[in-house]
Point group: C2
Chain length 378, copies 2
């Protein structure tokens, strides 16, 4: 990979009218990555065919997979004690695959879940057919405006794992301090924040993320799982979702989504060129601080959804004084190329998703618009 | 979609050195489709974002899904009594999803399978955890050189379905006459031949195909299933694989592989512009006849793998007098841009996969090379 992945000019700046997509996902991808894909789309590495037109078992494609996984290990620091897998179906299919693969480690087939938002609740629901699923903490009564406290006495040692959603896309909350789980295996759905901040990945027995927010395109998840946890898959586990088989076959129990893996490889290269997770985190903090300052400095015009201690740097959620003003805000923003700001249906208001690929200028444009909107309507 | 999908020049003819990929898949895609993808990759329909960067629930993307499904219905003739679904994971995950969704219709949880090659055997194996799976016919003893005969007495009426693989990629055989199954629901894996020939799709209660041979890129399957067969999914069925839920949500139980659906929509448009299945079949027959004539006219130098009555028009398999000559054949072909001709490891020899997107000139080039190779080595 050459330096071109970070050196290209913004298409917006160069007049190509690229929009800023603040939607929750599929999200914006880094522009240099998009340009690279376009450039080599008909002829990958000079082989006379597209990367999507060659066998997943060709040496050219095997190199793509190997590089992507090596980059992921480099960025996360997880070593060979973890299997790093591309698994079909996005994060939602992992809601089923995680219990299929891990719940059998518990004689009681017990698994613990924390309910901190829409997708964490869904993860618990999808796991229920496979065993005894207990929700040990929830912030539902508080409208999911915070990360719930865990009562340490509920961390049953005979459970196969404790599942948390480290960033809650819908409400814009994040686990800013990971729970202390002792010997209990911690499982994390990191879909909406993976590689957005430095985090001790080794705290997790398994962590996973759909690709379509911070890692690439939709339809596939990346799963990292400690190898000693493998080997207890339930008999109903489809081979394509069996982590042990995926590990043995280098994610190729069947033909994987070759395009998705290829794109993720490029996104990871782009991250490495930017200086890795720490450098990206610095920029993410800067973007989030700008937005939260605009909310907090609006004299109550914009009301934040999430409690300050649990704020996400990826999904920034807030409300306006009325639904009418909310609609007007969204429409006016769209006219300026600031798109898909509408909040999730359960919450309403505004959600600005500012994943790794959202440039600072996009956030600055949004903050400028927010200030102007208060002046006109406050 | 404009006429540009069929009007572009061959890149090989125009000097861009595009190869002919005879591999089993992921396969060549139609060149006009590839060019279209490249052209609009950074800016889909002028919206200022790529098709892979927008929400699957945006009106722009919903239109992509609707058009793809309408095209598929038009090309296959299946009506509203069938659900047409995009399901994650390719055909292999359907080996699990089909029994998960259908085997519960049989009180005895019984399903019947015909073993006609590598993937049909795998389909039966993957189904086994979900019920009583019976292989009622097999051509294994004949080295899978033919489609096995079914003893009508083995068509148990209390079975949920009979599964066949309509085209066997590895051995190059095809069901040229579909079995008479009476009231028993027929299920067909059509991965390596879907939309390559006119077929009475209504004979099937369910048929499916991974996208990466005749329909697009890898990682997803198209599933058409009669709606009256839905509603008996086993409790262990992940929601993402539950056909009834996929039907209700227009294939969006979760974020689907938006790129894969988009590409398939373009491939289906291309097929319609070519004149539909009948027109494509005519060209496929012409291509296959050329190859089989080169085999049959080689005075025994090339030995066909499949029995003549069961020959496939998609995967043409043959052997050379020695492994040494086989290697030499493959290497010499590759030098001329005729790539990935090596047979599957269980069979050896040569396999020329000539799916819908393989142009006639590619087959002509291969036939020319075959004739020249006999002259030099015969």
């Amino acid at each position: 990979m050459t330096a071109t992945l970070t050196s290209s000019q913004s298409a917006v700046a160069s007049g190509k009218q690229r929009i800023f997509n603040f939607g929750a996902g599929p999200a914006m991808l880094p522009e240099p990555v998009m340009q690279r894909i376009q450039e080599e789309f008909l002829n990958f590495q000079g082989i006379g065919a597209s990367v999507v037109e060659i066998s997943h078992r060709s040496k050219e494609f095997e190199a793509v997979v190997d590089r992507a996984i090596a980059s992921f290990r480099e960025l996360t620091g997880v070593g060979d004690d973890y299997a790093v897998l591309f698994v079909t179906g996005g994060a939602r299919l992992q809601f089923s695959a995680v219990p299929m693969n891990l719940i059998g480690r518990s004689a009681a087939r017990k698994a613990l879940y924390v309910e901190s938002g829409v997708f964490s609740a869904l993860a618990a629901k999808d796991a229920a057919p496979y065993g005894d699923v207990e929700v040990i903490a929830s912030s539902k009564a508080q409208g999911f405006d915070r990360i719930p406290e865990i009562d340490p006495e509920r961390l049953a040692e005979d459970a196969a794992y404790l599942h948390i959603t480290t960033n809650n896309t819908v409400y814009g909350t994040r686990w800013n301090r990971l729970p202390q789980t002792g010997k209990l295996v911690l499982v994390g759905d990191m879909t909406s924040e993976i590689l957005s901040r430095t985090i001790d990945f080794q705290r997790f027995g398994l962590f996973y993320a759909g690709l379509q927010k911070n890692l690439g395109v939709s339809g596939v998840a990346l799963v990292a799982v400690r190898k000693d946890l493998l080997g207890s898959a339930l008999p109903c586990t489809p081979p394509v979702l069996n982590y042990a088989l995926l590990d043995k076959s280098k994610s190729m129990v069947n033909t994987p989504s070759t395009f998705a893996i290829y794109v993720t490889g490029l996104v990871l290269e782009w991250m490495k060129e930017k200086g890795g997770v720490a450098a990206v985190e610095k920029e993410n903090n800067q973007k989030a601080e700008l937005l939260y300052a605009a909310i907090d400095g609006s004299s109550g015009f914009y009301r934040p959804v999430a409690q300050p201690a649990d704020r996400s740097t990826m999904n920034v959620t807030f409300k306006l004084p009325s639904e009418e003003l909310t609609d007007q805000f969204i429409k006016g923003a769209a006219k300026q190329g600031l798109k898909f700001l509408k909040g999730y249906r359960d919450v309403g208001g505004i959600r600005a998703s500012i994943y790794n690929a959202m440039p600072l200028v996009g956030v600055e444009a949004l903050v400028g618009y927010m200030r102007e909107f208060v002046r006109s309507n406050g």
